[in-house]
Amino acid sequence: MSRQANRGTESKKMSSELFTLTYGALVTQLCKDYENDEDVNKQLDKMGYNIGVRLIEDFLARSNVGRCHDFRETADVIAKVAFKMYLGITPSITNWSPAGDEFSLILENNPLVDFVELPDNHSSLIYSNLLCGVLRGALEMVQMAVEAKFVQDTLKGDGVTEIRMRFIRRIEDNLPAGEE
């Protein structure tokens, strides 16, 4: 019956909204706790990192993706599988560097910022900075050191939201001293 279907969609929507609204409340609280935007940005990145290092396990379990062979494959998995799975959007991948070690994720709309407006005195705030931390933390757990940062933000008046991803290096497994 259509009523049942409506309830399902409504319910899924509310679950996504719960995340978005919780995130908004968190950012508001951090803005109260820290004097300046830079500190809030750092805090969001750090929290995102902590989430990312645990989220990766959940992601790998749910998605069953195998090991990525190169950064291009990684980009595909991030955009088409991970973002879709957790945020319901599929960013596009553009602006590859000639060396293949940098690319951009373009988010036409960023679900985190629905109904959000940056107040005037927070122009340096990178509202969605948690995402950069999540990406960094998650990829570190699969042996990739990366840098992620926002270069465009619809909250700041840009047409799209753009996250620039840069591959730094492969992280080699280091066995603890004393083990074979």
């Binding site: 409504e10 679950s15 995340f19 609204l21 919780t22 409340a25 508001t28």
Partner: protein, 159 residues
Amino acid sequence: MAVVMLFQFLHAEMVAELGARDTDPGPGGQKRSLSVLEGTGFRAGQALGDRLPRDTPAFREELDVLKFCKDLWVAVFQKQMDGLCTNHQGTYVLQDNSVPLLIPTALGLQYLEDAPKFLAFTCGLLRGTLRTLGFQSLVTSSVATLPACKFQVVVRKSG
């Protein structure tokens, strides 16, 4: 559902971050952390209340508050609440027998004293959502045996 997992991770990280605000190990420190977490939940709850479907029936009878909490639980946490009861005088007790969403399953019985930190946000969430719908309430939580927990909602119609 993956998006609920995302909330779970965010919530756990919020408890770790906001719940460690005061290094004062005494009851004063804990109280402040709980208050911050509850306040964050309240803010989120208010906004959530604003986004509820417009055809949600206005609460004229007590029974609707119960149904509302039940529906909210399913909508938001994707699971049924395990028990709901009321004294028909404005007090509602909501029981959930497995809140892995809120309390990490790794939390053994010896960490029972930390449980309130994991429930403070949801208490605020309930309080905030009810507030937007015109109800002043006091929401408290109690944990007798993990992972079951109870939320007590005392409602006063504000006008």
